[in-house]
């Protein structure tokens, strides 16, 4: 197809050819030609957000829920700069996004023109790659390359900056098949020798652990199935990072919970005491390693990762395997089976005894209350009332509520849990829930939020109402910047500097003002009914759940400490940790 058309039209054609169904965006002067083309077609749906940051997070939610890239369209200058936080968020969490930004005409670039910003300069460090397209002839090919780069290898955000004159000018459209994308081809097959070396370790290990991460989700649903097969066939315990929840089912028998700063006691001690640590698509983030020098001191480490720069970045690896999780696990299982499916059953059985002892600590125990809603209780009830829903998706904001959601909600399949892990962006959850709901209109989509985070992008409630997206905003309202307050309590002498949420809106009235439903609940006795009311309502809901104000999120490994130096809350610690109480040394 060598059709002549304007650049603006090419954008639409390229999106169509890439299978894009939805674009999240916000118009402005520098993208008007593209919006004009959008107006004149019916293939691509446009979701008008209320702020460009909302568009990027919505696209992230959409991408995580579908496995497809999220597409964002913004104008030049402030449109592009507003998108930067979401682009950075997607880079940190390896989410494929294609962001198309308008730019001032080429002949005005560099003149401080109206709404000019050096968008490729600003987004260079927060994209996987970006392009300024100066010639309409190159536009279609560049857009196809952008999709290729965003979705190949380790996924991530890309940006294509399109000056307005390039949108107006006419050029030749190029189809995706003809676009040159060959040179960027990250390797997906792992080295067979390295995989065999890992199989040998698997056969001998006495105290193994599978430490899984977002890479399993990135690799696609097939990778999660292979992970389940590996775990169930070997009997090895499985833990996961915040980003990998759902890859192995929370109801699975080898599941030992999330690891890391707010991970379970059993997961962290398993990491600390293991003799074989198999990292599958995780990146040894500092929230999970704690103090590097004391990280999993007695273990051999294997690391499966598609990005060579993830290997040996933080933790030295004995068996590095560069490749896609799905491909590598497939080969690994093949080799392991061919060699007779050996594992050190006796050793692993003893290891499980030890793990079960740690588990008996019941590290997530909290002090129940009849008068106030404990945030953990609220999530337990939410879980109980939604767990069996056939199609549930959870997004979160950032803070204590996010960690409690990770601890108290169980995920049995991948792509059901969307959270901002690497950047920790308050304001992610509401727009992300919108993106998920756009992808799955019939599903139950709940954003577990803190009131402070939620306020950061609350304007997107307008988007939910406009597009009839029945997202449920479940706000655990402690009237505090809870996570900050917790750190101030534990590490800064209880000096609560600026961690109060003052002058909060009346969330029920706010809901009414937006044209959706508001529910308020402050009594544990009414909570179940209130949650049911939220679930039964066919439209968007803002649920103001007033919870205990000074609850802390435990377990917690203070930053810079080792895995076995964990603070527990109300858990039964007698006989397990020393009399000094809550601090493990």
């Amino acid at each position: 197809m060598s059709e002549q058309m304007t650049g603006a039209r090419m954008v639409i054609e390229a999106l169509k050819d890439q299978g894009v169904e939805v674009v999240f965006g916000y118009p402005g002067g520098a993208v008007l030609p593209i919006y004009d083309e959008l107006f004149q077609q019916n293939h691509i749906r446009h979701i008008l957000v209320r702020h460009e940051q909302g568009a990027t997070h919505a696209a992230e939610g959409y991408a995580r829920a579908t496995g497809k890239p999220g597409v964002v369209l913004v104008t030049s200058g402030p449109g592009a700069t507003n998108a930067v936080t979401g682009i950075t968020d997607a880079l940190m969490d390896s989410i494929p996004l294609v962001v198309i930004s308008g730019q001032v005409p080429t002949f005005m670039v560099g003149t401080d023109a109206f709404q000019e910003a050096d968008t490729v300069g600003i987004t260079r460090p927060c994209t996987k790659h970006n392009w300024l397209v100066k010639d309409t002839e190159k536009l279609a090919e560049t857009l196809h390359q952008a999709f290729h780069v965003a979705t190949s290898g380790r996924p991530g955000p890309v940006l294509v900056d399109v000056p307005k004159d390039v949108q107006f000018a006419t050029g030749t459209y190029m189809s995706p098949q003809k676009a040159k994308t060959s040179h960027y081809a990250p390797r997906v097959k792992g080295d067979i020798e390295a995989i065999t070396a890992l199989v040998e370790l698997i056969e001998q290990a006495e105290r193994p652990v599978l430490y899984t991460g977002g890479g399993v989700i990135n690799s696609g649903p097939g990778a999660s199935l292979l992970l389940r097969e590996l775990a169930d066939a070997t009997g090895f315990p499985v833990t996961s990072t915040l980003m990998g929840l759902g890859a192995y089912p929370a109801s699975g028998k080898n599941w030992i919970g999330m690891l890391g700063m707010h991970g379970t006691y059993e997961a962290n001690l398993t990491m600390h005491g293991c003799d074989l640590l198999i990292n599958i698509g995780a990146r040894f983030d500092d929230r999970i390693t704690g103090r590097i020098a004391d990280f999993s001191p007695g273990s051999k480490r294997a690391h499966i990762d598609i990005d060579p720069s993830s290997i040996n970045k933080v933790i030295r690896t004995d068996v590095p395997i560069i490749g896609d999780v799905g491909h590598v696990l497939e080969d690994l299982l093949k080799i392991w089976k061919a060699r007779g499916r050996k594992v050190n059953r006796a050793g692993v059985a003893q290891w499980w005894q030890q793990i079960d002892e740690w588990r008996a600590v019941k590290c997530l125990t909290y002090k129940p209350s009849k008068d106030t809603i404990k945030p953990q209780y609220a999530l337990e009830r939410l879980e109980a009332l939604t767990r069996d829903h056939p199609d549930r998706y959870i997004t979160t904001e950032v803070g204590q509520h996010q960690m409690w959601a990770a601890q108290f909600l169980g995920f049995d399949s991948p792509n059901r849990w969307m959270t901002s892990g690497g950047l920790g962006t308050m304001g992610y959850g509401l727009p992300a829930s919108i993106g998920v709901q756009v992808a799955h209109p019939e599903a139950l989509v709940i954003n577990v939020a803190g009131e402070a985070s939620w306020l950061m992008n609350m304007q997107e409630m307008g988007t939910a109402v406009q597009f009839r997206l029945p997202v449920k905003q479940f706000i655990l309202n402690n009237e505090r910047l809870g996570m900050v307050r917790q750190w101030q309590e534990l590490l800064h002498g209880e000096r609560y500097s600026q961690s109060w949420s003052e002058a909060l809106p009346d969330f029920v009235k706010l809901a009414e003002a937006f044209g959706c439903k508001g529910i308020k609940c402050d009594d544990p006795a009414n909570l179940d009914d209130a949650i049911r009311e939220m679930l039964d309502y066919p439209g968007p809901v803002i649920f103001d759940c007033l919870v205990e104000k000074h609850e802390n999120c435990f377990p917690m490994i203070p930053s810079g400490n080792a895995h076995n130096q964990m603070i527990l809350g109300e858990a039964e610690t007698q006989g397990v940790i020393g009399a000094s109480g809550a601090v493990l040394v």
């Binding site: 300069g121 780069v149 030295r316 930053s559």
Partner: protein
């Protein structure tokens, strides 16, 4: 809750403190990076180094394959072996980067730099400067009655040595290109 005692000083350990307690020796490596000669590619490479806190001792870049639209960036960097490996992996995953060669470990290589040195002086100092230039095979590319501009090529150490000798003899200015390097052999 205040009964909880966190080890004194633990808040001083930043969560981001990834420093290796057994910090190893710092090594110097010369990397040759073959990139697409596209706008912004140098900014990407430099941004990677500054953004991740890597060192650049010297950096040279020019198009080396006009038809293939390729440039060669030669960068001399320092770091622990782990950091050097990271630098190579980080460079390698950039979209416009085609090849990354660590000349320091890939075998013997030649590294050369061009320098221009302006030396001003009269009398004995001027004669001595000229004599030393001959020993170092530096060429005179400009001269007035009171100054020379020497041109010399060589490894960075040779240029350092020559510059050190010129300093007491009236070195005024020096311009260096940074290192260009190639592996030896076929």
């Amino acid at each position: 809750m205040s009964a909880l005692k966190i080890q004194q000083g633990s808040s001083k350990h930043s969560a981001y403190d990834l420093r290796d307690p057994n910090a190893e020796l710092i090594e110097t490596h010369t990397l040759a990076v073959i990139v697409d000669n596209e706008p912004g590619v140098l900014a990407r490479v430099i941004g990677l180094f500054s953004g991740r806190g890597y060192n650049i001792e010297s950096l040279t870049v020019a198009e080396t394959d006009h038809q293939g639209h390729r440039s060669r960036i030669t960068v001399v960097t320092t770091g622990t072996p782990q950091v050097i490996d990271q630098i190579k992996a980080q460079l390698g995953r950039m979209v416009p980067v085609h090849e990354v060669h660590d000349l320091t470990i890939e075998g013997p290589h030649v590294a050369r730099e061009l320098a221009l040195l302006k030396v001003a002086g009269k009398g004995d100092a001027r004669i001595e400067a000229l004599r030393l230039a001959e020993i170092f095979r530096a060429n005179v590319v400009d001269s007035t009655l009171e100054s020379f501009v020497f041109e010399m090529t060589g490894g960075p150490e040779k240029i350092d040595a020559f510059a050190d000798l010129m300093r007491p003899l009236g070195l005024r200015e020096i311009a260096r290109t940074g290192v260009a390097a190639l592996a030896r052999g076929g």
